[in-house]
Protein backbone atom coordinates (compact mmCIF):
# COMPACT_ATOMS: atom_id res chain seq x y z
CA UNK A 1 0.00 0.00 0.00
CA UNK A 2 1.45 3.31 -1.07
CA UNK A 3 1.89 5.72 1.82
CA UNK A 4 0.63 9.27 1.27
CA UNK A 5 0.85 10.49 4.85
CA UNK A 6 4.18 12.35 4.67
CA UNK A 7 3.08 14.63 1.82
CA UNK A 8 1.99 18.16 2.65
CA UNK A 9 -0.65 18.34 -0.07
CA UNK A 10 -4.05 18.96 1.52
CA UNK A 11 -6.14 17.24 -1.12
CA UNK A 12 -9.43 18.01 0.62
CA UNK A 13 -8.61 21.69 0.38
CA UNK A 14 -7.40 21.33 -3.21
CA UNK A 15 -10.65 19.61 -4.19
CA UNK A 16 -12.71 22.43 -2.73
CA UNK A 17 -11.27 24.65 -5.47
CA UNK A 18 -12.99 22.56 -8.16
CA UNK A 19 -16.78 22.91 -8.21
CA UNK A 20 -17.17 20.19 -10.85
CA UNK A 21 -15.67 17.52 -8.60
CA UNK A 22 -18.81 17.68 -6.48
CA UNK A 23 -21.08 16.50 -9.26
CA UNK A 24 -22.65 13.09 -9.68
CA UNK A 25 -22.55 11.03 -12.86
CA UNK A 26 -25.22 8.34 -13.23
CA UNK A 27 -26.02 8.88 -9.53
CA UNK A 28 -22.44 8.12 -8.54
CA UNK A 29 -19.79 10.58 -7.35
CA UNK A 30 -17.65 11.64 -10.30
CA UNK A 31 -14.17 10.10 -10.37
CA UNK A 32 -12.43 12.12 -13.03
CA UNK A 33 -9.36 10.37 -14.44
CA UNK A 34 -9.21 11.88 -17.92
CA UNK A 35 -6.88 14.71 -16.98
CA UNK A 36 -4.49 14.09 -19.84
CA UNK A 37 -7.31 15.04 -22.21
CA UNK A 38 -8.43 18.04 -20.22
CA UNK A 39 -7.93 18.99 -16.60
CA UNK A 40 -10.71 20.50 -14.50
CA UNK A 41 -10.82 24.19 -13.71
CA UNK A 42 -10.46 25.73 -10.25
CA UNK A 43 -12.98 28.38 -9.23
CA UNK A 44 -10.23 31.01 -9.22
CA UNK A 45 -9.83 30.49 -12.98
CA UNK A 46 -13.58 30.47 -13.59
CA UNK A 47 -13.81 33.69 -11.56
CA UNK A 48 -11.07 35.28 -13.69
CA UNK A 49 -13.05 34.51 -16.85
CA UNK A 50 -16.19 35.97 -15.29
CA UNK A 51 -14.37 39.04 -14.07
CA UNK A 52 -13.15 39.86 -17.56
CA UNK A 53 -16.69 39.81 -18.94
CA UNK A 54 -18.22 41.45 -15.87
CA UNK A 55 -15.69 44.26 -15.45
CA UNK A 56 -13.21 44.96 -18.21
CA UNK A 57 -14.15 43.17 -21.43
CA UNK A 58 -12.46 45.09 -24.25
CA UNK A 59 -10.15 44.54 -27.15
CA UNK A 60 -6.53 44.88 -26.19
CA UNK A 61 -3.46 46.91 -27.14
CA UNK A 62 -4.79 49.92 -29.04
CA UNK A 63 -7.82 51.16 -27.13
CA UNK A 64 -7.28 54.33 -25.14
CA UNK A 65 -10.18 53.84 -22.77
CA UNK A 66 -9.95 52.40 -19.29
CA UNK A 67 -11.47 49.01 -20.10
CA UNK A 68 -9.00 48.44 -22.95
CA UNK A 69 -6.16 49.54 -20.71
CA UNK A 70 -7.16 47.15 -17.91
CA UNK A 71 -7.69 44.25 -20.31
CA UNK A 72 -4.31 44.89 -21.95
CA UNK A 73 -2.56 45.05 -18.59
CA UNK A 74 -4.13 41.75 -17.45
CA UNK A 75 -3.37 40.08 -20.79
CA UNK A 76 0.24 41.18 -20.80
CA UNK A 77 0.63 40.23 -17.13
CA UNK A 78 -0.09 36.64 -18.17
CA UNK A 79 2.88 36.82 -20.51
CA UNK A 80 5.04 37.50 -17.47
CA UNK A 81 3.39 34.67 -15.54
CA UNK A 82 4.05 32.26 -18.41
CA UNK A 83 7.64 33.46 -18.77
CA UNK A 84 8.18 32.67 -15.13
CA UNK A 85 6.31 29.34 -15.31
CA UNK A 86 8.66 27.96 -17.97
CA UNK A 87 11.67 30.12 -17.00
CA UNK A 88 12.04 31.79 -20.38
CA UNK A 89 14.70 34.50 -20.55
CA UNK A 90 12.42 37.18 -21.97
CA UNK A 91 8.71 37.92 -22.03
CA UNK A 92 8.77 38.56 -25.80
CA UNK A 93 9.63 34.89 -26.29
CA UNK A 94 6.09 33.96 -25.18
CA UNK A 95 3.49 33.76 -27.96
CA UNK A 96 -0.15 33.03 -27.23
CA UNK A 97 -1.79 30.51 -29.56
CA UNK A 98 -5.02 28.51 -29.62
CA UNK A 99 -3.19 25.57 -28.10
CA UNK A 100 -0.25 23.23 -28.55
CA UNK A 101 -1.47 22.13 -31.97
CA UNK A 102 -1.51 25.67 -33.30
CA UNK A 103 1.88 26.36 -31.71
CA UNK A 104 3.47 23.41 -33.53
CA UNK A 105 1.77 24.39 -36.78
CA UNK A 106 3.11 27.92 -36.32
CA UNK A 107 6.67 26.58 -36.13
CA UNK A 108 6.09 24.22 -39.06
CA UNK A 109 4.72 27.04 -41.20
CA UNK A 110 6.76 30.07 -40.16
CA UNK A 111 10.10 28.40 -39.48
CA UNK A 112 9.65 25.23 -41.53
CA UNK A 113 8.51 26.82 -44.77
CA UNK A 114 11.22 29.45 -44.75
CA UNK A 115 14.10 27.27 -43.55
CA UNK A 116 13.52 23.76 -44.84
CA UNK A 117 14.49 22.58 -48.31
CA UNK A 118 13.86 19.35 -50.17
CA UNK A 119 15.87 16.56 -48.57
CA UNK A 120 16.17 18.28 -45.18
CA UNK A 121 15.31 15.97 -42.32
CA UNK A 122 13.00 16.30 -39.34
CA UNK A 123 13.24 13.69 -36.56
CA UNK A 124 10.04 12.87 -34.68
CA UNK A 125 9.67 10.16 -32.06
CA UNK A 126 7.34 7.20 -32.15
CA UNK A 127 5.86 8.51 -28.90
CA UNK A 128 4.40 11.61 -30.53
CA UNK A 129 0.82 12.79 -30.50
CA UNK A 130 -0.52 13.20 -34.03
CA UNK A 131 -0.22 16.97 -33.61
CA UNK A 132 3.59 16.66 -33.56
CA UNK A 133 3.62 14.24 -36.51
CA UNK A 134 1.15 15.51 -39.08
CA UNK A 135 2.43 19.13 -39.40
CA UNK A 136 5.83 17.67 -40.35
CA UNK A 137 4.28 15.12 -42.69
CA UNK A 138 2.49 17.99 -44.45
CA UNK A 139 5.88 19.63 -45.00
CA UNK A 140 7.22 16.32 -46.25
CA UNK A 141 4.48 16.18 -48.89
CA UNK A 142 4.69 19.83 -49.85
CA UNK A 143 8.43 20.59 -49.58
CA UNK A 144 10.04 17.17 -49.90
CA UNK A 145 11.25 17.24 -46.30
CA UNK A 146 12.13 13.79 -44.94
CA UNK A 147 10.47 12.74 -41.66
CA UNK A 148 12.50 10.15 -39.72
CA UNK A 149 11.25 8.31 -36.65
CA UNK A 150 13.15 7.91 -33.38
CA UNK A 151 12.39 4.36 -32.22
CA UNK A 152 11.34 3.23 -28.73
CA UNK A 153 11.94 0.07 -26.74
CA UNK A 154 9.31 -2.26 -25.26
CA UNK A 155 8.89 0.00 -22.23
CA UNK A 156 8.08 3.04 -24.33
CA UNK A 157 11.50 4.61 -23.78
CA UNK A 158 13.30 6.39 -26.63
CA UNK A 159 16.30 4.52 -27.99
CA UNK A 160 19.05 7.12 -27.58
CA UNK A 161 21.68 5.19 -29.53
CA UNK A 162 19.31 4.88 -32.47
CA UNK A 163 18.46 8.56 -32.05
CA UNK A 164 22.11 9.52 -32.47
CA UNK A 165 22.40 7.32 -35.53
CA UNK A 166 19.53 9.15 -37.26
CA UNK A 167 21.42 12.44 -37.51
CA UNK A 168 22.95 13.41 -40.83
CA UNK A 169 24.21 16.70 -42.22
CA UNK A 170 20.64 17.29 -43.44
CA UNK A 171 18.96 16.99 -40.01
CA UNK A 172 17.43 20.37 -39.22
CA UNK A 173 14.88 19.77 -36.48
CA UNK A 174 13.97 17.32 -33.74
CA UNK A 175 10.28 17.35 -32.75
CA UNK A 176 9.64 15.42 -29.53
CA UNK A 177 7.25 15.52 -26.64
CA UNK A 178 8.41 16.16 -23.09
CA UNK A 179 5.87 13.65 -21.77
CA UNK A 180 4.02 11.04 -23.84
CA UNK A 181 0.26 11.50 -23.67
CA UNK A 182 -0.50 7.87 -24.42
CA UNK A 183 1.91 6.05 -22.14
CA UNK A 184 3.33 8.67 -19.78
CA UNK A 185 7.04 8.39 -20.61
CA UNK A 186 9.01 11.45 -19.48
CA UNK A 187 11.61 12.01 -22.16
CA UNK A 188 15.17 13.13 -21.33
CA UNK A 189 14.64 16.44 -23.10
CA UNK A 190 17.88 17.99 -21.84
CA UNK A 191 19.94 15.17 -23.32
CA UNK A 192 17.86 14.99 -26.51
CA UNK A 193 18.36 18.72 -27.02
CA UNK A 194 22.09 18.60 -26.26
CA UNK A 195 22.59 15.84 -28.86
CA UNK A 196 20.48 17.70 -31.45
CA UNK A 197 22.49 20.86 -30.92
CA UNK A 198 25.75 18.91 -31.39
CA UNK A 199 24.51 18.21 -34.90
CA UNK A 200 23.33 21.77 -35.46
CA UNK A 201 19.61 20.83 -35.39
CA UNK A 202 16.91 22.78 -33.57
CA UNK A 203 14.48 21.21 -31.10
CA UNK A 204 10.71 21.69 -30.90
CA UNK A 205 9.27 20.25 -27.69
CA UNK A 206 5.58 19.44 -27.29
CA UNK A 207 5.04 20.10 -23.61
CA UNK A 208 1.26 19.65 -23.54
CA UNK A 209 1.50 16.73 -21.10
CA UNK A 210 4.46 18.12 -19.17
CA UNK A 211 2.93 21.46 -18.19
CA UNK A 212 0.58 19.91 -15.57
CA UNK A 213 3.12 17.44 -14.17
CA UNK A 214 6.71 18.65 -14.55
CA UNK A 215 8.73 21.70 -13.61
CA UNK A 216 9.59 23.29 -16.94
CA UNK A 217 12.78 25.26 -17.49
CA UNK A 218 13.21 26.00 -21.18
CA UNK A 219 16.65 27.50 -20.60
CA UNK A 220 17.92 24.49 -18.67
CA UNK A 221 16.53 22.24 -21.42
CA UNK A 222 18.03 24.46 -24.09
CA UNK A 223 14.77 24.23 -26.03
CA UNK A 224 14.48 26.22 -29.24
CA UNK A 225 10.70 25.93 -29.24
CA UNK A 226 8.38 24.69 -26.49
CA UNK A 227 4.60 24.49 -26.60
CA UNK A 228 1.81 23.75 -24.15
CA UNK A 229 -1.97 24.14 -23.79
CA UNK A 230 -3.99 25.94 -21.15
CA UNK A 231 -6.73 23.37 -20.70
CA UNK A 232 -4.38 20.61 -19.63
CA UNK A 233 -2.91 22.71 -16.84
CA UNK A 234 -6.10 23.78 -15.02
CA UNK A 235 -6.75 26.63 -17.47
CA UNK A 236 -9.42 27.22 -20.11
CA UNK A 237 -9.63 25.71 -23.59
CA UNK A 238 -8.75 27.77 -26.64
CA UNK A 239 -5.46 29.10 -25.38
CA UNK A 240 -1.93 27.80 -25.50
CA UNK A 241 1.63 28.98 -25.56
CA UNK A 242 4.54 28.82 -27.94
CA UNK A 243 7.91 29.64 -26.48
CA UNK A 244 10.62 30.37 -29.04
CA UNK A 245 14.14 31.67 -28.57
CA UNK A 246 14.05 35.38 -29.38
CA UNK A 247 16.66 35.28 -32.15
CA UNK A 248 14.78 32.48 -33.91
CA UNK A 249 11.41 34.21 -33.62
CA UNK A 250 12.88 37.45 -34.88
CA UNK A 251 14.30 35.77 -37.96
CA UNK A 252 11.06 33.91 -38.75
CA UNK A 253 8.54 35.41 -41.15
CA UNK A 254 4.96 35.83 -39.89
CA UNK A 255 2.58 32.92 -40.44
CA UNK A 256 -0.87 34.46 -40.17
CA UNK A 257 -1.49 38.01 -41.34
CA UNK A 258 -3.99 40.39 -39.84
CA UNK A 259 -4.45 43.07 -37.25
CA UNK A 260 -2.00 43.41 -34.39
CA UNK A 261 0.91 41.74 -36.19
CA UNK A 262 1.81 44.72 -38.38
CA UNK A 263 3.99 47.80 -38.12
CA UNK A 264 2.84 49.73 -41.24
CA UNK A 265 0.45 48.52 -43.92
CA UNK A 266 0.62 50.11 -47.33
CA UNK A 267 -0.25 49.39 -50.96
CA UNK A 268 2.57 51.62 -52.16
CA UNK A 269 5.50 50.32 -50.13
CA UNK A 270 6.11 46.94 -48.48
CA UNK A 271 4.02 46.23 -45.38
CA UNK A 272 6.20 45.94 -42.31
CA UNK A 273 5.59 43.81 -39.29
CA UNK A 274 5.43 44.26 -35.55
CA UNK A 275 8.22 43.08 -33.29
CA UNK A 276 7.91 39.74 -31.49
CA UNK A 277 5.78 38.45 -29.88
CA UNK A 278 3.04 40.46 -31.62
CA UNK A 279 4.31 39.48 -35.07
CA UNK A 280 2.88 36.02 -34.36
CA UNK A 281 -0.36 37.10 -32.71
CA UNK A 282 -2.53 38.16 -35.65
CA UNK A 283 -6.13 39.07 -34.91
CA UNK A 284 -7.94 39.35 -31.60
CA UNK A 285 -6.59 36.66 -29.26
CA UNK A 286 -8.68 34.75 -26.71
CA UNK A 287 -8.29 37.58 -24.22
CA UNK A 288 -10.33 36.26 -21.31
CA UNK A 289 -8.80 32.80 -21.70
CA UNK A 290 -5.26 34.17 -21.70
CA UNK A 291 -5.98 36.14 -18.53
CA UNK A 292 -7.55 33.05 -16.93
CA UNK A 293 -4.55 30.94 -17.98
CA UNK A 294 -2.43 33.30 -15.92
CA UNK A 295 -4.61 32.52 -12.90
CA UNK A 296 -4.31 28.77 -13.58
CA UNK A 297 -0.52 28.91 -13.63
CA UNK A 298 -0.57 30.95 -10.42
CA UNK A 299 -2.85 28.31 -8.90
CA UNK A 300 -0.29 25.62 -9.80
CA UNK A 301 2.58 27.69 -8.43
CA UNK A 302 0.58 28.35 -5.27
CA UNK A 303 0.60 24.64 -4.48
CA UNK A 304 4.00 24.04 -6.03
CA UNK A 305 4.87 21.73 -8.90
CA UNK A 306 7.26 19.72 -6.73
CA UNK A 307 4.46 18.84 -4.33
CA UNK A 308 1.97 18.20 -7.14
CA UNK A 309 4.44 15.89 -8.82
CA UNK A 310 5.18 13.99 -5.62
CA UNK A 311 1.45 13.54 -4.95
CA UNK A 312 0.70 12.38 -8.48
CA UNK A 313 3.64 9.98 -8.43
CA UNK A 314 2.15 8.30 -5.35
CA UNK A 315 -1.20 8.06 -7.13
CA UNK A 316 0.55 6.51 -10.13
CA UNK A 317 2.42 4.01 -7.95
CA UNK A 318 -0.76 3.08 -6.11
CA UNK A 319 -2.73 2.67 -9.34
CA UNK A 320 0.08 0.63 -10.91
CA UNK A 321 0.17 -1.71 -7.88
CA UNK A 322 -3.59 -2.14 -7.78
CA UNK A 323 -4.03 -2.63 -11.54
CA UNK A 324 -1.22 -5.17 -11.62
CA UNK A 325 -3.35 -7.48 -9.47
CA UNK A 326 -5.95 -7.77 -12.23
CA UNK A 327 -5.67 -10.96 -14.21
CA UNK A 328 -4.77 -10.42 -17.86
CA UNK A 329 -4.13 -6.69 -17.52
CA UNK A 330 -1.10 -5.33 -19.36
CA UNK A 331 0.22 -1.83 -18.72
CA UNK A 332 1.28 -0.11 -21.93
CA UNK A 333 4.34 2.00 -21.17
CA UNK A 334 6.58 0.97 -18.30
CA UNK A 335 9.29 3.61 -18.52
CA UNK A 336 11.18 4.16 -15.25
CA UNK A 337 10.30 7.86 -15.40
CA UNK A 338 6.59 8.33 -16.06
CA UNK A 339 4.17 11.18 -15.47
CA UNK A 340 0.84 10.34 -13.81
CA UNK A 341 -0.59 8.59 -16.86
CA UNK A 342 -1.35 4.89 -16.99
CA UNK A 343 -2.42 3.15 -20.17
CA UNK A 344 -3.52 -0.47 -20.19
CA UNK A 345 -5.26 -3.24 -22.08
CA UNK A 346 -7.06 -6.26 -20.63
CA UNK A 347 -7.31 -9.71 -22.20
CA UNK A 348 -10.87 -10.51 -23.25
CA UNK A 349 -12.20 -6.99 -22.83
CA UNK A 350 -12.24 -4.22 -25.43
CA UNK A 351 -11.20 -0.76 -24.24
CA UNK A 352 -14.40 0.73 -25.67
CA UNK A 353 -16.56 -1.59 -23.56
CA UNK A 354 -14.55 -0.80 -20.45
CA UNK A 355 -14.87 2.95 -21.08
CA UNK A 356 -18.64 2.85 -21.63
CA UNK A 357 -19.36 0.59 -18.67
CA UNK A 358 -17.04 2.23 -16.16
CA UNK A 359 -18.70 5.56 -16.99
CA UNK A 360 -21.93 4.06 -15.63
CA UNK A 361 -20.11 3.78 -12.31
CA UNK A 362 -19.12 7.46 -12.39
CA UNK A 363 -15.52 6.89 -13.49
CA UNK A 364 -14.23 8.97 -16.42
CA UNK A 365 -11.26 7.44 -18.23
CA UNK A 366 -10.11 7.69 -21.83
CA UNK A 367 -10.27 4.88 -24.34
CA UNK A 368 -9.06 4.69 -27.91
CA UNK A 369 -5.83 5.46 -29.72
CA UNK A 370 -5.18 8.75 -27.86
CA UNK A 371 -4.11 10.43 -31.12
CA UNK A 372 -0.97 8.31 -31.06
CA UNK A 373 -1.70 5.53 -33.55
CA UNK A 374 1.96 4.85 -34.47
CA UNK A 375 2.83 4.40 -30.80
CA UNK A 376 -0.05 2.01 -30.12
CA UNK A 377 0.78 0.08 -33.28
CA UNK A 378 4.30 -0.51 -31.95
CA UNK A 379 2.76 -2.11 -28.86
CA UNK A 380 0.55 -4.24 -31.10
CA UNK A 381 -2.72 -2.68 -29.91
CA UNK A 382 -5.33 -0.44 -31.56
CA UNK A 383 -6.85 1.00 -28.41
CA UNK A 384 -6.03 1.25 -24.73
CA UNK A 385 -7.74 2.48 -21.60
CA UNK A 386 -5.97 5.42 -20.04
CA UNK A 387 -6.31 6.81 -16.54
CA UNK A 388 -4.49 10.07 -15.92
CA UNK A 389 -4.21 11.91 -12.64
CA UNK A 390 -4.21 15.49 -11.43
CA UNK A 391 -3.42 17.24 -8.15
CA UNK A 392 -7.02 16.80 -6.96
CA UNK A 393 -7.24 13.03 -7.37
CA UNK A 394 -7.12 10.87 -4.26
CA UNK A 395 -5.94 7.36 -3.39
CA UNK A 396 -9.61 6.57 -2.58
CA UNK A 397 -10.52 7.49 -6.14
CA UNK A 398 -7.85 5.11 -7.41
CA UNK A 399 -9.48 2.39 -5.30
CA UNK A 400 -12.95 3.20 -6.69
CA UNK A 401 -11.53 3.12 -10.20
CA UNK A 402 -9.89 -0.29 -9.71
CA UNK A 403 -12.97 -1.77 -7.99
CA UNK A 404 -15.16 -0.42 -10.80
CA UNK A 405 -12.83 -1.87 -13.38
CA UNK A 406 -13.03 -5.24 -11.65
CA UNK A 407 -16.82 -5.09 -11.72
CA UNK A 408 -16.90 -4.12 -15.39
CA UNK A 409 -14.51 -6.91 -16.32
CA UNK A 410 -16.82 -9.32 -14.53
CA UNK A 411 -19.53 -8.33 -17.01
CA UNK A 412 -17.28 -8.66 -20.04
CA UNK A 413 -15.27 -11.80 -19.36
Amino acid sequence: MTDFSDLMLDVVKVRRDFPILGRQVHDKPLVYLDNAATSQTPHQVIAALEEVYNRYNANIHRGLHTLADEATAAFEATRDTVREFINAAERREIIFTRGTTEAINLVANAWGRSELREGDEVLVSRLEHHSNIVPWQLLATQLGVVVKVIPIDERGVLDLAAYRDLFTSRTRLVAVNHVSNACGTVNPVIELTRIAHEYGALVMIDGAQAAPHETIDVQAIGADFYAFSGHKVYGPTGVGVLYGRAELLEAMPPWQGGGEMIDQVSFESPTTFAAIPHKFEAGTPPIAEVIALGKALQWVSGIGMTLIRAWEQRLLAHATDELSRIDGLRIIGTAPDKAAVISFVVDGAHAQDIGLLIDQLGVAIRTGHHCAQPLLASFGVEATCRASFAAYNTPEEVDIFVESLDKVLGMLR
Binding site: H350, A351, Q352, D353, L356, L357, T367, G368, A383
Partner: protein, 142 residues
Protein backbone atom coordinates in the same frame (compact mmCIF):
# COMPACT_ATOMS: atom_id res chain seq x y z
CA UNK B 1 -32.21 -14.69 -36.99
CA UNK B 2 -35.55 -13.02 -37.60
CA UNK B 3 -38.38 -14.26 -35.46
CA UNK B 4 -40.73 -11.26 -35.22
CA UNK B 5 -43.17 -10.88 -38.13
CA UNK B 6 -42.08 -7.33 -38.97
CA UNK B 7 -39.40 -4.75 -38.15
CA UNK B 8 -41.97 -2.82 -36.18
CA UNK B 9 -42.96 -5.88 -34.14
CA UNK B 10 -39.29 -6.55 -33.44
CA UNK B 11 -38.83 -2.99 -32.18
CA UNK B 12 -41.82 -3.38 -29.87
CA UNK B 13 -40.54 -6.70 -28.53
CA UNK B 14 -37.14 -5.19 -27.81
CA UNK B 15 -38.74 -2.23 -26.04
CA UNK B 16 -40.66 -4.66 -23.80
CA UNK B 17 -37.52 -6.63 -23.03
CA UNK B 18 -35.53 -3.50 -22.17
CA UNK B 19 -38.34 -2.21 -19.96
CA UNK B 20 -37.70 -5.17 -17.62
CA UNK B 21 -34.48 -3.55 -16.39
CA UNK B 22 -34.49 -0.53 -14.14
CA UNK B 23 -30.82 0.38 -14.55
CA UNK B 24 -28.33 0.69 -17.33
CA UNK B 25 -25.75 -1.72 -15.96
CA UNK B 26 -28.37 -4.49 -16.31
CA UNK B 27 -29.36 -3.26 -19.77
CA UNK B 28 -25.72 -3.27 -20.83
CA UNK B 29 -25.35 -6.81 -19.49
CA UNK B 30 -28.40 -7.83 -21.54
CA UNK B 31 -26.93 -6.17 -24.64
CA UNK B 32 -23.59 -7.92 -24.07
CA UNK B 33 -25.33 -11.28 -23.66
CA UNK B 34 -27.27 -10.75 -26.90
CA UNK B 35 -23.98 -10.04 -28.67
CA UNK B 36 -22.52 -13.32 -27.46
CA UNK B 37 -25.23 -15.17 -29.39
CA UNK B 38 -24.42 -13.62 -32.77
CA UNK B 39 -23.79 -16.23 -35.46
CA UNK B 40 -20.24 -16.82 -36.68
CA UNK B 41 -18.93 -14.16 -39.09
CA UNK B 42 -16.66 -15.61 -41.80
CA UNK B 43 -13.04 -14.42 -41.60
CA UNK B 44 -12.98 -13.66 -45.34
CA UNK B 45 -15.62 -10.95 -44.82
CA UNK B 46 -13.33 -9.01 -42.45
CA UNK B 47 -12.10 -6.75 -45.23
CA UNK B 48 -11.83 -2.98 -45.52
CA UNK B 49 -14.78 -2.62 -47.92
CA UNK B 50 -17.09 -4.14 -45.31
CA UNK B 51 -15.67 -2.17 -42.41
CA UNK B 52 -17.82 0.48 -40.71
CA UNK B 53 -16.02 3.71 -39.91
CA UNK B 54 -16.71 5.92 -36.92
CA UNK B 55 -16.28 3.32 -34.24
CA UNK B 56 -13.55 2.86 -31.62
CA UNK B 57 -13.82 -0.89 -32.19
CA UNK B 58 -13.68 -2.84 -35.45
CA UNK B 59 -17.05 -3.50 -37.07
CA UNK B 60 -17.69 -5.36 -40.31
CA UNK B 61 -21.06 -5.71 -41.99
CA UNK B 62 -21.87 -8.02 -44.88
CA UNK B 63 -25.19 -8.14 -46.77
CA UNK B 64 -26.80 -10.28 -49.40
CA UNK B 65 -30.05 -9.61 -51.30
CA UNK B 66 -31.79 -12.80 -52.39
CA UNK B 67 -34.17 -11.01 -54.76
CA UNK B 68 -36.82 -10.66 -52.08
CA UNK B 69 -35.13 -10.13 -48.73
CA UNK B 70 -31.96 -8.54 -47.37
CA UNK B 71 -29.72 -10.71 -45.22
CA UNK B 72 -27.30 -8.88 -42.96
CA UNK B 73 -24.43 -10.26 -41.00
CA UNK B 74 -22.07 -8.22 -38.82
CA UNK B 75 -19.45 -8.60 -36.13
CA UNK B 76 -17.38 -6.46 -33.79
CA UNK B 77 -14.41 -7.11 -31.53
CA UNK B 78 -16.17 -5.16 -28.76
CA UNK B 79 -18.93 -6.66 -26.63
CA UNK B 80 -21.42 -3.79 -26.46
CA UNK B 81 -21.19 -3.10 -30.18
CA UNK B 82 -21.74 -6.82 -30.82
CA UNK B 83 -24.88 -6.55 -28.71
CA UNK B 84 -26.03 -3.53 -30.69
CA UNK B 85 -25.47 -5.56 -33.85
CA UNK B 86 -27.72 -8.25 -32.41
CA UNK B 87 -30.39 -5.60 -31.77
CA UNK B 88 -30.10 -4.41 -35.38
CA UNK B 89 -30.27 -7.95 -36.72
CA UNK B 90 -33.52 -8.64 -34.91
CA UNK B 91 -35.08 -5.58 -36.50
CA UNK B 92 -33.57 -5.52 -39.99
CA UNK B 93 -32.18 -8.93 -40.95
CA UNK B 94 -34.29 -10.99 -43.37
CA UNK B 95 -36.65 -8.12 -44.26
CA UNK B 96 -37.74 -6.82 -47.61
CA UNK B 97 -35.96 -3.58 -48.60
CA UNK B 98 -39.24 -1.66 -48.63
CA UNK B 99 -40.08 -2.97 -45.15
CA UNK B 100 -36.82 -1.49 -43.92
CA UNK B 101 -37.19 1.86 -45.65
CA UNK B 102 -40.72 2.15 -44.26
CA UNK B 103 -39.50 1.55 -40.69
CA UNK B 104 -38.32 4.49 -38.60
CA UNK B 105 -35.60 3.46 -36.12
CA UNK B 106 -37.86 4.11 -33.13
CA UNK B 107 -35.90 1.67 -30.99
CA UNK B 108 -33.15 4.27 -30.58
CA UNK B 109 -35.51 6.32 -28.45
CA UNK B 110 -37.60 3.47 -27.03
CA UNK B 111 -34.55 1.60 -25.77
CA UNK B 112 -32.90 4.81 -24.56
CA UNK B 113 -29.96 4.20 -26.89
CA UNK B 114 -30.09 7.72 -28.33
CA UNK B 115 -29.26 9.11 -24.92
CA UNK B 116 -26.91 6.44 -23.61
CA UNK B 117 -25.10 5.58 -26.81
CA UNK B 118 -25.13 8.88 -28.60
CA UNK B 119 -23.06 9.23 -31.81
CA UNK B 120 -20.36 11.14 -29.91
CA UNK B 121 -19.51 7.97 -28.06
CA UNK B 122 -18.23 6.62 -31.37
CA UNK B 123 -19.90 3.26 -31.00
CA UNK B 124 -20.69 2.91 -34.70
CA UNK B 125 -24.41 2.34 -34.07
CA UNK B 126 -25.46 5.27 -36.24
CA UNK B 127 -22.94 4.35 -38.92
CA UNK B 128 -24.30 0.78 -39.01
CA UNK B 129 -27.88 2.04 -39.16
CA UNK B 130 -26.95 4.43 -41.96
CA UNK B 131 -25.47 1.60 -43.97
CA UNK B 132 -28.51 -0.64 -43.46
CA UNK B 133 -30.87 2.09 -44.70
CA UNK B 134 -28.57 2.98 -47.62
CA UNK B 135 -28.48 -0.63 -48.76
CA UNK B 136 -32.24 -1.03 -48.37
CA UNK B 137 -32.91 2.16 -50.34
CA UNK B 138 -30.57 1.01 -53.09
CA UNK B 139 -32.28 -2.37 -53.40
CA UNK B 140 -35.76 -0.86 -53.13
CA UNK B 141 -34.96 1.53 -55.98
CA UNK B 142 -33.34 -1.16 -58.18
Amino acid sequence: MTSSPSPQAAQEELADEFAMFDNWMDRYQYIIDMGRQLPEFPEEWKVDELKIKGCQSNVWMHHHFDGERLHFSAISDAAIVSGLIAVLMRIYDGRQPTEITATAPRFLEDLGLDKHLSPTRSNGLHAMLGRIYDIAEEEAAA
